[in-house]
Symmetry: C2
Subunit: 473 residues, 2 copies
């Protein structure tokens, strides 16, 4: 493809993205397609001869795009978001255009050093302990796996890497912890049975007394406690585990403390929310995702460690074909995580942090929190609805409650969620809290405004009334 | 950023990428920067207030870009390449613009189904066994880790996931295998000591007899063989392990066979190169990287398995907050690998396969192989140089040899590589083969033409003469 052809198509693609970013709210948020429907529209074999980009782009618009879920929609209230932003999208274009593979310093010095710089920026913005060092991973799942592996190596004096996993090591987390803890524990060879899911209080935060009791029981059985995963902002309800109390316990028993703040970490940019991170100085490792609530295209997970030497020692490899003359003077990030090859992820983060500035990010986070609080007020002000968890940030957990049995309420709320989502106007997801089916509404999309949250409430309330008034259904 | 501003900057960025893709060959291939030099040019803190995209883009051009290594340079002969291509770059722009997080079918049905389709296309193009099923991973390191984990679970009846790693399991690979095998073995809890590095023949291919002997010895010691990693196209010299013979051994002892063809896999698009994959029907898993030699932007690793159920059972998690109504009818790729979150990687691969077509990719691969053969002919035709390994594909391993001692030859070739690379006109890397320092020249960049390879030879020959003629240095 010559330069002029690339330029012509590039402009068309930019136009398309510009339109999309402006009009994303006009699409049905989740496509109305059945499993297999898109696949059926596509040929079973790759073409023998190449096709023109016009034809491919046209097929994209006709066959692929109609099957996309619109994560950037202003009424995206599901899961946690994966925000992109115009400066981040443009930076991704540069990254793709340069096509550098940034596994070691020499294979792109600027990528390695910019990563170091932006991670220092984040550390300072979030008021993380000064002694920590950051590195970009793809996702929080990977970051937490990396933490578990480093904890495993530290606990065994780096013997597991050499001799393999021998004796059981125990991981502690909340019963509300993310599924990635279980997945990581399986991958790293701990085994699911060696995870203790510690009970939580009425706000779904881990009970430090229960944690200590569990550690004590294991030690009495001759088992070795290895790692505690604390969560600031759990996936189900954004519950906040008390880091200070957990940290003291970890220190007392010499246990690795990993803090998963995948979503909530961004809130530490607000001084008024830093109480959530009280005790963070105990953390051996900490993860939050700029790709969630900090406007940086997925994937970009920010992982910080107290002792980078332990991290590097866990992952380092030294094949001859990767050695360079400057290895002793630089950070070769290939040794800071799972994969060898690395994209230039720091660039989009740099674009975002500079374009919005600290104040721009603070403003967005404050706005989301306010909008969520206004939705929470509606829930609390309605006789039909029940707030199901505290709302320290921008996630509201609620349900419809007409006094029916718990079983009936679970069914009723599932119907409500389905009815709302089926309109295609907004998207929410669910969870369970202490066995109760709960609807989650997370206000954290870049494009979400006051009227979107108000419309969400109106629609939810309308569908709830339909469910509560059998005659109208 | 409003639509018109995005469009204006988007056009500028497209222009920049268009120029870059055309002129990449004019840059110094590796930047002439010292460790820390780029970092020093950047502020220590993120800006409080946001800045204009003009300023940021300008800083990118002045401070970041001059520190980049140019992987898309026509004289990139280092490592294995990480090719991008115009259609792939443009598809990445769409992916970034939509910003969808494709962890499960419902969070983007089109992404899930397109992934299924393009993986079937690849399987057919590469003549892989019909029964295999594909999934996109980020890198071959991750794919091989996924293979080791699935092998671990199969060997223990899925008990390791539950109870943790108990008894030693043994992994077999060539002494020439990629470092990711060791890294994966450590991560998955096998331990480095439980990897057997099987000796290779004069062509650096694994000796099946030695493999079987090693398996037999372990079984006699009461150790359990778990997985054999065979390589088609080793990193050091593109050696080809004999899959048929290895496969028979794996079948006989019921051992998982993982085939790492990260670079060479693409060559299976050529019928005349399929002899390299003879015995592929024995493979339980197979990986090759479209991001290496198939014009698809990094990252995109194609992983194929014989029994997807084993893969899913190894990784599946079922938290309430990720359940959807269609889970039983669809592929939720979150359960097919390490990370939960997933980018829409299938889109760029689809753009590439359609734009170039099977024939376009075949043509490129054939050209690279021919160019490498022409370079090999120069090496063999020169009294000063020595070919160090067979050249079945497009990687040439050679050294300068004036009859000095091995120690002196190692030093001399290191000097030669440094002298050539320091010109900034081309980039090669090195390895060792049976203790000998060897220079690697891999012809596999999209932009490389005949004259680039000829110029490379001239430059190498010139620098060699300088080294061999002390008076001229």
């Amino acid at each position: 493809m010559d330069k002029e052809t690339f330029r012509k198509h590039g402009y068309e693609f930019i136009d398309w993205v510009a339109d999309y970013l402006e009009n994303v709210g006009e699409y049905r948020i989740c496509p109305d397609v059945r499993p297999g429907e898109i696949k059926q529209k596509l040929p079973k074999e790759a073409p023998g001869k190449g096709e023109s980009l016009d034809i491919i782009f046209n097929d994209f618009k006709r066959k692929i795009f109609p099957g996309m879920t619109h994560w950037q929609h202003p009424s995206w209230f599901a899961y946690f978001p994966a925000n992109n932003s115009p400066p981040s999208v443009l930076a991704e274009l540069l990254t793709a255009g340069m096509g550098a593979q940034c596994m070691i310093w020499e294979t792109s010095p600027a990528a390695a050093e910019l990563e170091e710089v932006v991670m220092e920026w984040l550390k300072s913005m979030l008021a993380l302990p000064k002694g920590m060092t950051g590195v970009i991973q793809d996702t929080a799942s990977t970051s937490s796996l990396v933490a578990l592996l480093t904890a495993r190596e530290k606990a065994t004096g780096f013997e597991s890497n050499v001799k393999g996993f021998k004796e059981p090591l125990v991981i502690y987390c909340s019963e509300e912890s993310h599924s990635s803890v279980e997945k990581g524990a399986k991958i790293a060879g701990f085994g699911k049975e060696n995870i203790r899911h510690i009970p939580t209080d009425k706000d779904y935060a881990v009970l430090p007394g229960e944690l200590e009791k569990s550690i004590f029981e294991d030690m009495n059985k001759g088992l070795k406690p290895c790692c505690v995963v604390a969560t600031v902002g759990t996936t189900s309800s954004s519950a906040i585990d008390p880091l200070d109390k957990i940290g003291e316990i970890c220190k007392r028993y010499n246990i690795w403390l990993h803090v998963d703040a995948a979503y909530a970490g961004t809130a530490s940019v607000l001084p008024e929310k830093r109480w959530m991170f009280k005790g963070i100085e105990y953390a051996d490792s900490f993860v939050f995702n700029p790709h969630k609530w900090m406007l940086t295209n997925f994937d970009c997970s920010a992982y910080f460690v107290k002792e980078p030497d332990l991290l590097v020692r866990t992952f380092e490899i030294h094949p001859e074909y990767l050695k360079t003359g400057v290895d002793s003077q630089v950070k070769n990030y290939r040794d800071w995580g799972i994969a060898l090859g690395r994209r230039f992820r720091a660039l989009k983060l740099w674009f975002v942090l500079r374009y919005y500035g600290i104040e721009g990010i603070q403003e967005m986070v404050r706005k989301h929190i306010e909008l969520a609080q206004s939705f929470k007020d509606k829930v609390e002000g309605s006789p039909s609805f029940e707030l199901m968890a505290p709302v320290p940030l921008s996630l509201v957990c609620f349900r419809l409650n007409d006094g029916s049995s718990e079983g009936e309420l679970n069914r009723m709320n599932r119907r409500l969620l389905e009815a709302v989502n089926q309109t295609g106007k907004l998207h929410m997801t669910h969870t369970t809290l202490k066995g109760k089916y709960v609807i989650r509404l997370c206000v954290a999309s870049r494009t979400t405004e006051k009227q979107d949250v108000e419309r969400a409430w109106e629609l939810i309330d309308e569908k709830a009334r339909e469910i509560l008034t059998p005659s109208s259904t």
